[in-house]
Protein backbone atom coordinates (compact mmCIF):
# COMPACT_ATOMS: atom_id res chain seq x y z
CA UNK A 1 0.00 0.00 0.00
CA UNK A 2 1.48 3.34 -1.09
CA UNK A 3 1.36 6.20 1.45
CA UNK A 4 -1.07 8.98 0.51
CA UNK A 5 1.84 11.43 0.57
CA UNK A 6 5.46 11.43 1.69
CA UNK A 7 8.13 14.09 1.86
CA UNK A 8 11.13 13.28 -0.33
CA UNK A 9 14.63 14.76 -0.35
CA UNK A 10 15.20 18.15 -2.03
CA UNK A 11 18.28 20.28 -1.36
CA UNK A 12 16.56 23.61 -0.87
CA UNK A 13 12.82 23.25 -1.15
CA UNK A 14 10.09 20.81 -0.17
CA UNK A 15 9.08 17.93 -2.37
CA UNK A 16 6.11 15.61 -1.85
CA UNK A 17 5.41 12.31 -3.58
CA UNK A 18 1.64 11.92 -3.71
CA UNK A 19 -0.51 8.92 -4.60
CA UNK A 20 -4.22 8.59 -5.28
CA UNK A 21 -6.54 5.82 -6.43
CA UNK A 22 -8.15 8.35 -8.75
CA UNK A 23 -7.60 12.04 -9.53
CA UNK A 24 -9.94 13.24 -6.79
CA UNK A 25 -7.98 11.13 -4.32
CA UNK A 26 -4.67 12.48 -5.67
CA UNK A 27 -5.81 16.10 -5.35
CA UNK A 28 -7.12 15.46 -1.83
CA UNK A 29 -3.86 13.83 -0.73
CA UNK A 30 -1.74 16.59 -2.29
CA UNK A 31 -3.72 19.17 -0.31
CA UNK A 32 -3.46 17.17 2.92
CA UNK A 33 0.30 16.79 2.41
CA UNK A 34 0.84 20.47 1.73
CA UNK A 35 -1.31 21.66 4.63
CA UNK A 36 0.41 19.27 7.03
CA UNK A 37 3.80 20.85 6.23
CA UNK A 38 2.65 24.34 7.20
CA UNK A 39 2.20 23.47 10.88
CA UNK A 40 -0.83 25.69 11.42
CA UNK A 41 -2.67 26.19 14.68
CA UNK A 42 -6.13 27.67 14.01
CA UNK A 43 -8.11 29.87 16.39
CA UNK A 44 -10.89 27.74 17.92
CA UNK A 45 -14.44 28.69 17.04
CA UNK A 46 -16.05 30.14 13.97
CA UNK A 47 -15.54 28.48 10.57
CA UNK A 48 -16.25 30.08 7.21
CA UNK A 49 -17.35 27.86 4.33
CA UNK A 50 -16.63 28.62 0.65
CA UNK A 51 -17.57 26.79 -2.53
CA UNK A 52 -15.73 27.24 -5.83
CA UNK A 53 -14.88 25.65 -9.16
CA UNK A 54 -11.53 25.70 -10.94
CA UNK A 55 -10.81 25.02 -14.59
CA UNK A 56 -7.43 24.66 -16.28
CA UNK A 57 -5.87 23.66 -19.60
CA UNK A 58 -4.54 20.38 -18.25
CA UNK A 59 -4.58 18.30 -15.07
CA UNK A 60 -1.13 19.43 -13.83
CA UNK A 61 -2.11 23.09 -14.10
CA UNK A 62 -5.37 22.28 -12.31
CA UNK A 63 -3.38 20.68 -9.48
CA UNK A 64 -1.13 23.74 -9.09
CA UNK A 65 -4.15 26.08 -9.17
CA UNK A 66 -5.95 23.96 -6.56
CA UNK A 67 -3.02 24.06 -4.14
CA UNK A 68 -2.47 27.79 -4.74
CA UNK A 69 -6.14 28.37 -3.95
CA UNK A 70 -5.63 26.76 -0.54
CA UNK A 71 -2.55 28.89 0.20
CA UNK A 72 -3.97 32.25 -0.85
CA UNK A 73 -6.07 33.02 2.30
CA UNK A 74 -3.03 32.51 4.56
CA UNK A 75 -1.42 35.88 3.93
CA UNK A 76 -4.32 37.98 2.76
CA UNK A 77 -6.95 36.93 5.30
CA UNK A 78 -4.79 35.34 8.00
CA UNK A 79 -7.05 32.30 7.54
CA UNK A 80 -6.23 28.63 6.98
CA UNK A 81 -8.12 25.78 5.38
CA UNK A 82 -9.03 23.35 8.16
CA UNK A 83 -11.31 21.05 6.17
CA UNK A 84 -12.25 20.58 2.54
CA UNK A 85 -14.01 18.40 0.00
CA UNK A 86 -12.78 18.23 -3.57
CA UNK A 87 -14.02 16.44 -6.66
CA UNK A 88 -12.08 16.38 -9.93
CA UNK A 89 -14.31 16.25 -12.99
CA UNK A 90 -13.19 15.66 -16.57
CA UNK A 91 -9.45 16.00 -15.66
CA UNK A 92 -9.46 19.79 -16.11
CA UNK A 93 -12.30 20.85 -13.84
CA UNK A 94 -12.81 20.57 -10.11
CA UNK A 95 -15.43 21.52 -7.57
CA UNK A 96 -14.42 22.20 -3.98
CA UNK A 97 -15.81 23.24 -0.63
CA UNK A 98 -13.30 24.64 1.85
CA UNK A 99 -13.68 25.55 5.50
CA UNK A 100 -11.50 28.32 6.88
CA UNK A 101 -10.53 29.39 10.38
CA UNK A 102 -8.42 32.35 11.50
CA UNK A 103 -4.80 31.46 12.28
CA UNK A 104 -3.43 31.48 15.83
CA UNK A 105 0.06 30.48 14.68
CA UNK A 106 1.78 29.23 11.54
CA UNK A 107 5.36 27.95 11.49
CA UNK A 108 6.13 27.53 7.78
CA UNK A 109 5.86 29.57 4.63
CA UNK A 110 5.39 28.21 1.11
CA UNK A 111 6.38 30.79 -1.47
CA UNK A 112 4.96 28.89 -4.41
CA UNK A 113 3.69 25.61 -5.82
CA UNK A 114 6.03 24.92 -8.74
CA UNK A 115 5.68 23.09 -12.05
CA UNK A 116 9.15 21.59 -11.54
CA UNK A 117 9.10 18.28 -13.50
CA UNK A 118 5.41 18.12 -12.65
CA UNK A 119 3.85 15.12 -14.33
CA UNK A 120 0.79 13.20 -13.14
CA UNK A 121 1.43 9.57 -14.06
CA UNK A 122 -0.85 6.59 -14.07
CA UNK A 123 0.51 3.72 -11.98
CA UNK A 124 -0.88 0.31 -11.03
CA UNK A 125 -2.53 1.70 -7.91
CA UNK A 126 -3.99 4.77 -9.66
CA UNK A 127 -2.09 8.06 -9.99
CA UNK A 128 1.22 9.38 -8.71
CA UNK A 129 3.05 12.70 -8.90
CA UNK A 130 5.89 14.66 -7.28
CA UNK A 131 5.25 18.29 -6.34
CA UNK A 132 8.06 20.71 -5.47
CA UNK A 133 7.20 23.70 -3.27
CA UNK A 134 9.44 26.77 -3.19
CA UNK A 135 9.99 27.59 0.49
Amino acid sequence: MQPAFEEIEHTADWALRVHGQNLTDLFRNAALGMLSMLDIEPVPGKTEKRVFELKAEDTETLLVSWLEELLYPLEVENAAVVDFQVEVLEKVLLKATIELKKIASIKKEIKAVTFNELDIRTVDSGYETIIVFDV
Binding site: H10, T11, V76, K111, A112, T114, F115, N116, E117
Partner: protein
Amino acid sequence: MVEKKDLIKITDVTWEIPTSYREDMRVPVRIFADETLIDAALGDKSFDQAVNTTTLPGLVSPVVVMPDVHQGYGFPIGGVAASRYPNGIISPGAIGYDINCGVRLLASGISLEDVRGELPDLASALDANCPSGVGVGGSVRLTTKELDKVCRQGSTWALKNNYARRDDLERTEEQGQIHGADPSSISSRAKQRGKGQLGTLGAGNHFIEIDVVEEIFHEAAADAMGLAEGLLTVQIHCGSRGFGHQICSDYVREFQSAVKRYGIKLPDRELVCAPLNSPEGKRYKAAMACAANYAFCNRQVLSHHVRRSFEQVLAGRVPDWDLHQVYDIAHNMGKTETHIVDGEKVRVCVHRKGATRAFGPGFEGLPEVYKPFGQPVLVPGSMGTASWVLLGTEESMTKSFGSSCHGAGRVMSRRQAKREVRGQDLRQELEAQGIIIHAGSMPGLAEEAPKAYKDVDAVVDVVVRAGIAAKVARLRPVVVIKG
Protein backbone atom coordinates in the same frame (compact mmCIF):
# COMPACT_ATOMS: atom_id res chain seq x y z
CA MET B 1 21.82 12.38 -14.18
CA VAL B 2 25.01 14.27 -15.06
CA GLU B 3 28.07 12.41 -13.78
CA LYS B 4 31.63 13.59 -13.24
CA LYS B 5 32.76 11.84 -16.42
CA ASP B 6 30.41 14.13 -18.38
CA LEU B 7 32.32 17.23 -17.25
CA ILE B 8 35.34 18.65 -19.06
CA LYS B 9 37.88 20.26 -16.73
CA ILE B 10 39.13 23.52 -18.28
CA THR B 11 41.07 24.86 -15.27
CA ASP B 12 41.15 23.99 -11.55
CA VAL B 13 38.02 26.12 -11.07
CA THR B 14 36.33 26.02 -14.49
CA TRP B 15 34.44 23.07 -15.96
CA GLU B 16 32.19 22.56 -18.95
CA ILE B 17 29.28 20.36 -19.97
CA PRO B 18 29.51 20.38 -23.78
CA THR B 19 26.48 20.44 -26.07
CA SER B 20 27.36 16.88 -27.07
CA TYR B 21 26.13 15.72 -23.63
CA ARG B 22 22.48 15.88 -24.72
CA GLU B 23 20.91 16.37 -28.12
CA ASP B 24 18.55 19.18 -27.13
CA MET B 25 21.28 21.44 -25.62
CA ARG B 26 21.60 24.71 -27.55
CA VAL B 27 24.64 26.03 -25.63
CA PRO B 28 27.20 24.48 -23.25
CA VAL B 29 27.20 24.86 -19.45
CA ARG B 30 30.21 26.59 -17.85
CA ILE B 31 30.69 25.76 -14.16
CA PHE B 32 32.87 27.67 -11.73
CA ALA B 33 33.83 25.26 -8.91
CA ASP B 34 36.75 23.39 -7.45
CA GLU B 35 36.81 19.61 -7.22
CA THR B 36 35.13 19.53 -3.78
CA LEU B 37 32.29 21.84 -4.83
CA ILE B 38 31.81 19.87 -8.06
CA ASP B 39 31.41 16.70 -6.00
CA ALA B 40 28.92 18.45 -3.71
CA ALA B 41 26.84 19.68 -6.66
CA LEU B 42 26.80 16.21 -8.22
CA GLY B 43 24.88 15.10 -5.12
CA ASP B 44 21.67 16.64 -6.43
CA LYS B 45 20.11 17.67 -9.76
CA SER B 46 21.91 21.05 -10.05
CA PHE B 47 23.76 20.24 -13.26
CA ASP B 48 20.79 18.42 -14.82
CA GLN B 49 18.71 21.54 -14.22
CA ALA B 50 21.48 23.64 -15.83
CA VAL B 51 21.46 21.30 -18.85
CA ASN B 52 17.66 21.65 -19.09
CA THR B 53 18.08 25.43 -19.09
CA THR B 54 20.37 25.30 -22.13
CA THR B 55 17.36 24.21 -24.21
CA LEU B 56 15.72 27.64 -23.87
CA PRO B 57 15.53 29.35 -27.28
CA GLY B 58 17.73 32.36 -28.09
CA LEU B 59 20.38 31.84 -25.39
CA VAL B 60 23.85 33.28 -25.83
CA SER B 61 26.59 30.78 -24.93
CA PRO B 62 27.12 29.58 -22.21
CA VAL B 63 24.74 28.94 -19.31
CA VAL B 64 26.90 29.80 -16.29
CA VAL B 65 26.82 27.95 -12.97
CA MET B 66 28.29 29.44 -9.79
CA PRO B 67 30.18 27.50 -7.07
CA ASP B 68 27.28 27.94 -4.62
CA VAL B 69 24.89 26.15 -7.00
CA HIS B 70 22.20 23.83 -5.68
CA GLN B 71 19.09 22.17 -6.99
CA GLY B 72 16.11 24.47 -7.25
CA TYR B 73 13.06 24.29 -9.50
CA GLY B 74 13.52 24.51 -13.28
CA PHE B 75 16.76 26.53 -13.37
CA PRO B 76 19.20 25.74 -10.53
CA ILE B 77 19.88 28.27 -7.79
CA GLY B 78 23.26 29.79 -8.67
CA GLY B 79 22.68 30.01 -12.43
CA VAL B 80 23.07 32.70 -15.09
CA ALA B 81 21.47 32.53 -18.55
CA ALA B 82 21.52 35.35 -21.12
CA SER B 83 19.00 35.48 -23.96
CA ARG B 84 19.46 37.68 -26.99
CA TYR B 85 17.08 40.53 -27.90
CA PRO B 86 14.67 40.65 -29.60
CA ASN B 87 13.88 37.00 -30.31
CA GLY B 88 15.33 35.35 -27.20
CA ILE B 89 13.07 34.46 -24.31
CA ILE B 90 12.30 35.55 -20.79
CA SER B 91 11.49 32.80 -18.27
CA PRO B 92 9.87 33.69 -14.92
CA GLY B 93 10.98 30.38 -13.38
CA ALA B 94 14.58 31.12 -14.36
CA ILE B 95 14.41 34.30 -12.26
CA GLY B 96 12.60 32.76 -9.32
CA TYR B 97 9.49 33.28 -7.22
CA ASP B 98 11.19 35.70 -4.85
CA ILE B 99 11.81 38.34 -7.51
CA ASN B 100 14.70 40.64 -6.49
CA CYS B 101 15.55 38.67 -3.44
CA GLY B 102 18.74 40.46 -2.51
CA VAL B 103 21.12 41.76 0.10
CA ARG B 104 21.75 45.21 1.54
CA LEU B 105 24.82 46.10 3.56
CA LEU B 106 24.89 49.05 5.96
CA ALA B 107 28.13 50.07 7.66
CA SER B 108 28.94 52.11 10.76
CA GLY B 109 31.76 53.76 12.66
CA ILE B 110 30.72 51.80 15.78
CA SER B 111 33.41 49.60 17.27
CA LEU B 112 32.24 46.17 18.46
CA GLU B 113 34.32 46.61 21.63
CA ASP B 114 32.43 49.82 22.51
CA VAL B 115 28.97 48.21 22.30
CA ARG B 116 29.48 44.55 23.15
CA GLY B 117 27.29 44.99 26.22
CA GLU B 118 24.51 46.61 24.16
CA LEU B 119 24.23 43.77 21.63
CA PRO B 120 21.36 41.99 23.46
CA ASP B 121 19.37 45.25 23.48
CA LEU B 122 20.20 45.85 19.80
CA ALA B 123 19.00 42.33 18.95
CA SER B 124 15.73 42.89 20.84
CA ALA B 125 15.18 46.29 19.22
CA LEU B 126 15.75 44.86 15.72
CA ASP B 127 13.39 41.98 16.48
CA ALA B 128 10.72 44.36 17.76
CA ASN B 129 11.03 46.98 15.00
CA CYS B 130 11.54 44.78 11.92
CA PRO B 131 8.48 42.55 11.37
CA SER B 132 9.54 38.99 10.59
CA GLY B 133 8.11 35.49 10.43
CA VAL B 134 5.28 33.77 8.57
CA GLY B 135 2.04 35.72 8.17
CA VAL B 136 3.37 38.83 9.91
CA GLY B 137 2.15 42.08 8.38
CA GLY B 138 4.25 45.15 7.69
CA SER B 139 4.55 48.49 9.39
CA VAL B 140 3.31 50.26 6.26
CA ARG B 141 -0.20 49.48 5.03
CA LEU B 142 -0.56 50.54 1.38
CA THR B 143 -3.66 51.54 -0.58
CA THR B 144 -3.86 50.22 -4.15
CA LYS B 145 -2.86 53.67 -5.39
CA GLU B 146 0.22 53.80 -3.15
CA LEU B 147 1.17 50.21 -4.04
CA ASP B 148 1.10 51.20 -7.72
CA LYS B 149 3.50 54.04 -6.86
CA VAL B 150 5.84 51.62 -5.05
CA CYS B 151 5.72 49.40 -8.16
CA ARG B 152 6.79 52.26 -10.42
CA GLN B 153 9.17 54.10 -8.09
CA GLY B 154 10.82 51.49 -5.87
CA SER B 155 13.27 53.13 -3.47
CA THR B 156 12.27 56.59 -4.74
CA TRP B 157 8.88 56.02 -3.07
CA ALA B 158 10.76 55.33 0.17
CA LEU B 159 12.76 58.56 -0.26
CA LYS B 160 9.58 60.60 -0.78
CA ASN B 161 8.04 59.01 2.31
CA ASN B 162 11.03 59.57 4.61
CA TYR B 163 12.25 55.98 4.72
CA ALA B 164 15.46 56.71 2.76
CA ARG B 165 18.33 59.10 2.23
CA ARG B 166 19.44 60.16 -1.21
CA ASP B 167 22.81 58.39 -0.87
CA ASP B 168 20.99 55.12 -0.07
CA LEU B 169 19.52 55.24 -3.56
CA GLU B 170 22.85 56.11 -5.19
CA ARG B 171 24.30 53.00 -3.57
CA THR B 172 21.55 50.64 -4.73
CA GLU B 173 21.58 48.56 -7.93
CA GLU B 174 19.69 50.60 -10.56
CA GLN B 175 19.25 53.28 -7.88
CA GLY B 176 16.48 51.09 -6.50
CA GLN B 177 14.16 51.71 -9.44
CA ILE B 178 13.81 49.45 -12.48
CA HIS B 179 12.18 51.32 -15.34
CA GLY B 180 9.33 49.89 -17.37
CA ALA B 181 7.26 48.73 -14.39
CA ASP B 182 3.55 48.58 -15.20
CA PRO B 183 1.11 47.83 -12.35
CA SER B 184 -1.62 46.93 -14.88
CA SER B 185 0.39 43.79 -15.67
CA ILE B 186 -0.22 42.50 -12.12
CA SER B 187 -3.18 40.46 -10.86
CA SER B 188 -5.49 41.73 -8.14
CA ARG B 189 -4.34 38.77 -6.01
CA ALA B 190 -0.73 39.94 -6.17
CA LYS B 191 -1.83 43.43 -5.20
CA GLN B 192 -3.82 42.11 -2.25
CA ARG B 193 -0.73 40.28 -1.03
CA GLY B 194 1.54 43.28 -1.60
CA LYS B 195 -0.54 45.84 0.26
CA GLY B 196 0.21 44.54 3.75
CA GLN B 197 3.77 43.28 3.47
CA LEU B 198 6.00 46.28 2.80
CA GLY B 199 8.74 46.47 5.42
CA THR B 200 8.69 42.78 6.35
CA LEU B 201 11.52 40.28 6.44
CA GLY B 202 9.56 37.04 5.93
CA ALA B 203 10.88 33.63 6.96
CA GLY B 204 13.04 30.82 5.52
CA ASN B 205 16.62 31.87 4.84
CA HIS B 206 15.89 35.60 5.16
CA PHE B 207 17.60 37.46 7.96
CA ILE B 208 18.89 40.67 9.47
CA GLU B 209 22.38 40.29 10.86
CA ILE B 210 24.79 42.51 12.74
CA ASP B 211 28.33 41.64 11.69
CA VAL B 212 31.76 42.85 12.63
CA VAL B 213 34.38 43.49 9.95
CA GLU B 214 36.91 40.77 10.66
CA GLU B 215 39.49 41.29 7.94
CA ILE B 216 40.14 43.74 5.11
CA PHE B 217 41.68 42.49 1.86
CA HIS B 218 41.47 45.66 -0.28
CA GLU B 219 42.20 48.80 1.76
CA ALA B 220 41.26 51.40 -0.86
CA ALA B 221 37.93 49.78 -1.77
CA ALA B 222 37.11 49.17 1.91
CA ASP B 223 37.85 52.85 2.60
CA ALA B 224 35.47 53.89 -0.18
CA MET B 225 32.80 51.65 1.35
CA GLY B 226 33.45 52.92 4.88
CA LEU B 227 34.54 49.48 6.13
CA ALA B 228 37.29 49.02 8.71
CA GLU B 229 38.30 46.12 10.93
CA GLY B 230 36.44 45.90 14.23
CA LEU B 231 33.49 48.07 13.11
CA LEU B 232 29.87 46.94 12.99
CA THR B 233 27.85 46.41 9.82
CA VAL B 234 24.27 45.24 9.19
CA GLN B 235 23.08 42.90 6.43
CA ILE B 236 19.46 42.65 5.34
CA HIS B 237 18.53 39.63 3.20
CA CYS B 238 14.97 39.50 1.82
CA GLY B 239 12.95 40.09 -1.33
CA SER B 240 9.54 40.98 -2.74
CA ARG B 241 7.56 38.81 -0.30
CA GLY B 242 4.15 37.38 -1.28
CA PHE B 243 3.78 40.12 -3.89
CA GLY B 244 6.67 38.76 -5.97
CA HIS B 245 5.72 35.12 -5.28
CA GLN B 246 2.22 35.72 -6.65
CA ILE B 247 3.49 37.57 -9.74
CA CYS B 248 5.86 34.74 -10.61
CA SER B 249 3.19 32.08 -9.94
CA ASP B 250 0.68 33.93 -12.15
CA TYR B 251 3.11 34.11 -15.06
CA VAL B 252 4.50 30.56 -14.74
CA ARG B 253 0.88 29.37 -14.96
CA GLU B 254 0.02 31.71 -17.85
CA PHE B 255 3.17 30.79 -19.81
CA GLN B 256 2.19 27.10 -19.76
CA SER B 257 -0.01 27.94 -22.72
CA ALA B 258 2.32 30.62 -24.17
CA VAL B 259 5.01 27.99 -24.91
CA LYS B 260 2.45 26.03 -26.92
CA ARG B 261 1.46 29.14 -28.89
CA TYR B 262 5.11 29.85 -29.73
CA GLY B 263 5.99 26.22 -30.44
CA ILE B 264 8.62 26.05 -27.66
CA LYS B 265 9.41 22.55 -26.40
CA LEU B 266 11.05 22.25 -22.97
CA PRO B 267 12.22 19.35 -20.78
CA ASP B 268 10.71 20.89 -17.61
CA ARG B 269 7.45 22.84 -17.35
CA GLU B 270 8.97 25.13 -14.71
CA LEU B 271 11.18 26.64 -17.44
CA VAL B 272 8.21 27.99 -19.43
CA CYS B 273 9.01 31.23 -21.20
CA ALA B 274 7.87 33.69 -23.85
CA PRO B 275 9.83 35.61 -26.48
CA LEU B 276 11.15 38.94 -25.15
CA ASN B 277 9.43 40.80 -28.00
CA SER B 278 6.06 39.03 -27.53
CA PRO B 279 3.13 40.68 -25.72
CA GLU B 280 3.39 37.98 -23.01
CA GLY B 281 7.14 38.49 -22.57
CA LYS B 282 6.78 42.26 -22.36
CA ARG B 283 3.98 41.98 -19.82
CA TYR B 284 5.98 39.66 -17.58
CA LYS B 285 8.99 41.99 -17.77
CA ALA B 286 6.79 44.93 -16.71
CA ALA B 287 5.35 42.84 -13.85
CA MET B 288 8.80 41.62 -12.78
CA ALA B 289 9.95 45.26 -12.63
CA CYS B 290 7.04 46.01 -10.24
CA ALA B 291 8.15 43.19 -7.92
CA ALA B 292 11.80 44.24 -8.19
CA ASN B 293 10.90 47.79 -7.21
CA TYR B 294 8.76 46.51 -4.34
CA ALA B 295 11.75 44.49 -3.06
CA PHE B 296 14.15 47.46 -3.26
CA CYS B 297 11.57 49.50 -1.34
CA ASN B 298 11.05 46.66 1.16
CA ARG B 299 14.75 46.51 2.03
CA GLN B 300 14.77 50.31 2.22
CA VAL B 301 11.89 50.42 4.73
CA LEU B 302 13.63 47.70 6.77
CA SER B 303 16.83 49.78 6.69
CA HIS B 304 14.86 52.65 8.18
CA HIS B 305 13.72 50.38 11.02
CA VAL B 306 17.29 49.12 11.52
CA ARG B 307 18.54 52.71 11.82
CA ARG B 308 15.72 53.49 14.26
CA SER B 309 16.72 50.46 16.34
CA PHE B 310 20.36 51.58 16.49
CA GLU B 311 19.24 55.06 17.53
CA GLN B 312 16.91 53.71 20.25
CA VAL B 313 19.66 51.63 21.82
CA LEU B 314 22.87 53.55 21.15
CA ALA B 315 21.92 57.24 21.24
CA GLY B 316 23.84 58.78 24.12
CA ARG B 317 25.92 55.65 24.61
CA VAL B 318 28.25 56.07 21.61
CA PRO B 319 29.18 59.33 19.86
CA ASP B 320 27.92 58.24 16.42
CA TRP B 321 25.34 55.50 15.82
CA ASP B 322 24.73 56.28 12.16
CA LEU B 323 24.50 53.52 9.54
CA HIS B 324 25.43 54.39 5.95
CA GLN B 325 24.61 52.22 2.99
CA VAL B 326 27.44 50.30 1.32
CA TYR B 327 25.34 48.73 -1.42
CA ASP B 328 22.09 46.89 -2.20
CA ILE B 329 22.15 44.13 -4.77
CA ALA B 330 19.62 41.71 -6.29
CA HIS B 331 20.32 38.02 -6.74
CA ASN B 332 17.04 36.92 -8.42
CA MET B 333 16.44 39.11 -11.43
CA GLY B 334 16.20 39.42 -15.21
CA LYS B 335 18.14 42.45 -16.45
CA THR B 336 18.50 44.04 -19.89
CA GLU B 337 22.23 44.54 -20.41
CA THR B 338 24.78 44.84 -23.22
CA HIS B 339 27.59 42.29 -23.30
CA ILE B 340 30.37 41.58 -25.76
CA VAL B 341 29.72 38.23 -27.43
CA ASP B 342 32.22 36.99 -30.04
CA GLY B 343 33.60 40.54 -30.31
CA GLU B 344 30.17 42.07 -30.91
CA LYS B 345 28.01 44.19 -28.60
CA VAL B 346 24.84 42.21 -27.96
CA ARG B 347 21.73 43.29 -26.04
CA VAL B 348 20.62 40.48 -23.77
CA CYS B 349 18.26 39.69 -20.92
CA VAL B 350 20.50 38.21 -18.23
CA HIS B 351 18.57 35.83 -15.96
CA ARG B 352 20.34 35.63 -12.60
CA LYS B 353 18.78 33.17 -10.16
CA GLY B 354 20.81 32.94 -7.00
CA ALA B 355 23.55 34.90 -8.72
CA THR B 356 24.70 38.48 -8.26
CA ARG B 357 25.54 41.10 -10.87
CA ALA B 358 29.31 41.76 -10.58
CA PHE B 359 30.23 44.55 -13.00
CA GLY B 360 33.84 45.67 -13.14
CA PRO B 361 35.44 49.10 -12.63
CA GLY B 362 34.15 52.13 -14.54
CA PHE B 363 30.66 51.03 -15.47
CA GLU B 364 28.09 53.79 -15.84
CA GLY B 365 25.56 52.81 -13.16
CA LEU B 366 28.07 52.83 -10.27
CA PRO B 367 28.34 55.73 -7.81
CA GLU B 368 31.49 57.79 -8.53
CA VAL B 369 33.16 56.60 -5.32
CA TYR B 370 33.06 52.95 -6.50
CA LYS B 371 33.93 53.52 -10.16
CA PRO B 372 37.69 52.95 -9.76
CA PHE B 373 37.09 49.62 -8.01
CA GLY B 374 34.03 47.93 -9.49
CA GLN B 375 30.61 47.07 -8.17
CA PRO B 376 30.29 45.77 -4.59
CA VAL B 377 29.15 42.13 -4.51
CA LEU B 378 27.54 41.00 -1.27
CA VAL B 379 27.83 37.32 -0.36
CA PRO B 380 26.06 36.36 2.85
CA GLY B 381 27.28 33.16 4.47
CA SER B 382 25.18 30.63 6.30
CA MET B 383 24.00 31.56 9.78
CA GLY B 384 26.93 31.70 12.16
CA THR B 385 29.59 31.72 9.46
CA ALA B 386 31.37 34.50 7.61
CA SER B 387 29.91 36.77 4.96
CA TRP B 388 31.95 38.47 2.25
CA VAL B 389 32.13 41.82 0.51
CA LEU B 390 33.62 41.38 -2.96
CA LEU B 391 34.09 43.48 -6.08
CA GLY B 392 33.04 42.79 -9.65
CA THR B 393 35.87 42.54 -12.16
CA GLU B 394 36.53 43.18 -15.84
CA GLU B 395 36.98 39.45 -16.32
CA SER B 396 33.49 38.73 -15.03
CA MET B 397 32.19 40.67 -18.05
CA THR B 398 33.73 38.15 -20.43
CA LYS B 399 33.43 34.99 -18.36
CA SER B 400 30.06 35.14 -16.59
CA PHE B 401 27.96 37.94 -18.15
CA GLY B 402 29.15 40.21 -15.32
CA SER B 403 27.96 37.86 -12.57
CA SER B 404 29.25 36.20 -9.43
CA CYS B 405 28.05 33.98 -6.58
CA HIS B 406 25.32 34.94 -4.10
CA GLY B 407 25.95 32.94 -0.92
CA ALA B 408 27.16 29.66 0.51
CA GLY B 409 24.58 27.46 -1.23
CA ARG B 410 22.69 24.64 0.41
CA VAL B 411 24.11 21.16 0.37
CA MET B 412 21.73 19.39 2.78
CA SER B 413 17.94 19.17 2.53
CA ARG B 414 15.80 20.94 5.12
CA ARG B 415 14.42 17.55 6.09
CA GLN B 416 17.88 16.14 6.77
CA ALA B 417 18.97 19.29 8.61
CA LYS B 418 15.96 18.95 10.95
CA ARG B 419 16.81 15.28 11.52
CA GLU B 420 20.41 16.10 12.42
CA VAL B 421 20.06 19.41 14.27
CA ARG B 422 17.80 20.59 17.08
CA GLY B 423 17.04 24.31 16.86
CA GLN B 424 17.49 24.78 20.60
CA ASP B 425 20.93 23.08 20.57
CA LEU B 426 22.01 25.13 17.58
CA ARG B 427 21.02 28.35 19.30
CA GLN B 428 23.07 27.41 22.36
CA GLU B 429 26.02 26.43 20.19
CA LEU B 430 25.95 29.74 18.32
CA GLU B 431 25.51 31.69 21.54
CA ALA B 432 28.60 29.95 22.91
CA GLN B 433 30.44 31.42 19.91
CA GLY B 434 29.19 34.88 20.91
CA ILE B 435 26.35 35.07 18.36
CA ILE B 436 22.96 36.24 19.65
CA ILE B 437 20.06 34.56 17.84
CA HIS B 438 16.43 35.66 17.68
CA ALA B 439 14.37 33.19 15.66
CA GLY B 440 10.63 32.85 15.09
CA SER B 441 10.74 29.07 14.93
CA MET B 442 13.19 26.48 16.32
CA PRO B 443 12.58 23.92 13.51
CA GLY B 444 13.04 26.81 11.05
CA LEU B 445 16.35 27.63 12.76
CA ALA B 446 17.46 23.98 12.48
CA GLU B 447 16.73 24.01 8.73
CA GLU B 448 19.18 26.89 8.35
CA ALA B 449 21.98 25.25 10.35
CA PRO B 450 25.49 26.08 9.05
CA LYS B 451 26.13 22.40 8.28
CA ALA B 452 23.26 22.49 5.75
CA TYR B 453 25.37 24.87 3.65
CA LYS B 454 28.63 24.73 1.73
CA ASP B 455 31.71 26.47 3.06
CA VAL B 456 31.27 30.10 2.00
CA ASP B 457 35.04 30.69 2.16
CA ALA B 458 35.55 27.91 -0.40
CA VAL B 459 32.85 29.42 -2.65
CA VAL B 460 34.50 32.84 -2.47
CA ASP B 461 37.92 31.31 -3.09
CA VAL B 462 36.61 29.86 -6.39
CA VAL B 463 35.10 33.09 -7.73
CA VAL B 464 38.33 34.93 -6.86
CA ARG B 465 40.54 32.29 -8.49
CA ALA B 466 38.24 32.28 -11.53
CA GLY B 467 38.73 36.05 -11.77
CA ILE B 468 35.02 36.93 -11.59
CA ALA B 469 35.29 38.74 -8.23
CA ALA B 470 37.91 40.20 -5.87
CA LYS B 471 37.97 40.19 -2.07
CA VAL B 472 37.33 43.36 -0.05
CA ALA B 473 36.28 42.29 3.43
CA ARG B 474 35.24 39.33 5.52
CA LEU B 475 32.43 39.82 8.04
CA ARG B 476 31.63 37.76 11.15
CA PRO B 477 28.11 37.66 12.66
CA VAL B 478 27.36 38.78 16.22
CA VAL B 479 23.55 39.11 16.07
CA VAL B 480 21.16 37.14 13.82
CA ILE B 481 17.43 37.89 13.50
CA LYS B 482 15.41 35.26 11.62
CA GLY B 483 11.71 35.04 10.91
